[in-house]
Symmetry: C2
């Protein structure tokens, strides 16, 4: 019997949460992985936990706080010295929110876990809206990682990034069809009590729900 | 001015220690990175620390113990349930010592650190003797990682694995010329007080010194 186990990188945000519902709906036996890398918005991890609890999915949160502080400090999301920029996501200053090599780090851990589980697939929710800001959401990057991941073990593991050609509005539409509970997702980079509604991530989320014609169930400041 | 900063993945073993001396000799400003992934032989980390202290190199040891336990458990090196195999390194049972996706995990963290440091190069000591046992020391894997790493940030980082065509005997010869202090390296997988002299790693080390015609300065059980 071919394994239908799959590992998903679950940030607790909209995209990966939608992908989780999507692959469960496709019949995968899903293992969710979240990473605490000292992100300002580590609050997203609570949301990942709540979603996994609701869906009854095994979930691991891995502590990479020291690595976040000591290695990945060149980012507004991990450094206290740099402010999270406000405004539109497409602007140059949003590059301050890039976390050095975040996706490769997450994928590498997910692949290690997949090998231990004898799972054949690793899923992550990179999407078209990310490309302009995040180098590690580019198609070329994903293609290169697919190749590397297929060679990382004697038995190949397959990387899947099925939302690479979708924008966030498409993802919300898909999520609504799948019954995603978006009240259990966190997007704001500031990670305060309520979402700020002003940072690039909030702006993008608000636009996505508007485009999809669906109300956003979370409360903004 | 072009940066001559480089990050090296330093296990505390012979190969990466030789590479450290090698790139210092080439004039790089070197930052060493070691990872504690709950390896049985975490003793190697003390040796990495001693070498960096001797050479006056900045050194970080990153704690990945939880990830090692919870994600990378399918290995004799991270699991208490599986014994470290004895005998020749080329044998099938040595595959028990493969740690799931270890090199991709280490490289991804090293690249994140390089981006934070604005270093342009990441070095690691994969060599020809590893290929038969470790999937993530294969040339194809290294090539795929080079490509992915070059795309991981807007400014490319370059992966260098200069020992990929050398065997361990060649590495010891090179190290002897560079004045490497091999008494400050640790190889044995068992990680006890003295090196066991029987595990695959010890066997390979003993063969390498024999081939190079140089005495091994460490004491065996």
């Amino acid at each position: 019997m071919v394994s239908n186990k799959a590992v998903i990188i679950l940030s607790g945000g909209m995209d990966s949460t939608t992908l989780l519902y999507d692959i469960l709906n496709q019949g995968y036996e899903v293992y969710a992985l979240s990473i605490n890398y000292n992100q300002r918005h580590s609050k997203e991890l609570e949301f990942a936990r709540k979603t996994c609890k609701k869906l009854n999915i095994p979930h691991k949160i891995i502590d990479l706080i020291q690595a976040g502080k000591e290695l990945l400090y060149r980012s507004a999301l991990t450094s206290e010295d740099t402010q999270v920029p406000e405004g539109n996501y497409k602007e140059e200053n949003m590059k301050l929110t890039v976390v050095p090599n975040r996706n490769m780090i997450f994928l590498s851990l997910a692949v290690g876990y997949a090998i231990s589980l004898r799972a054949k697939k690793v899923f992550y929710g990179a999407h078209a809206g990310d490309h302009a800001v995040y180098p590690d959401c580019r198609k070329e990057f994903v293609e290169a990682m697919k190749r590397a991941i297929s060679l990382a073990d004697w038995e190949p593991v397959e990387l899947e990034a099925p939302y690479l050609d979708l924008d966030k509005g498409d993802i919300v539409k898909k999520g609504a069809q799948l019954g995603v509970d978006y009240s259990l997702t966190w997007t704001c980079y500031k990670g305060q009590d309520k979402a700020c509604g002003k940072c690039g991530a909030c702006n993008e989320r608000l636009e996505a729900f508007k485009k999809a014609g669906i109300p956003d169930p979370i409360i903004y400041k």
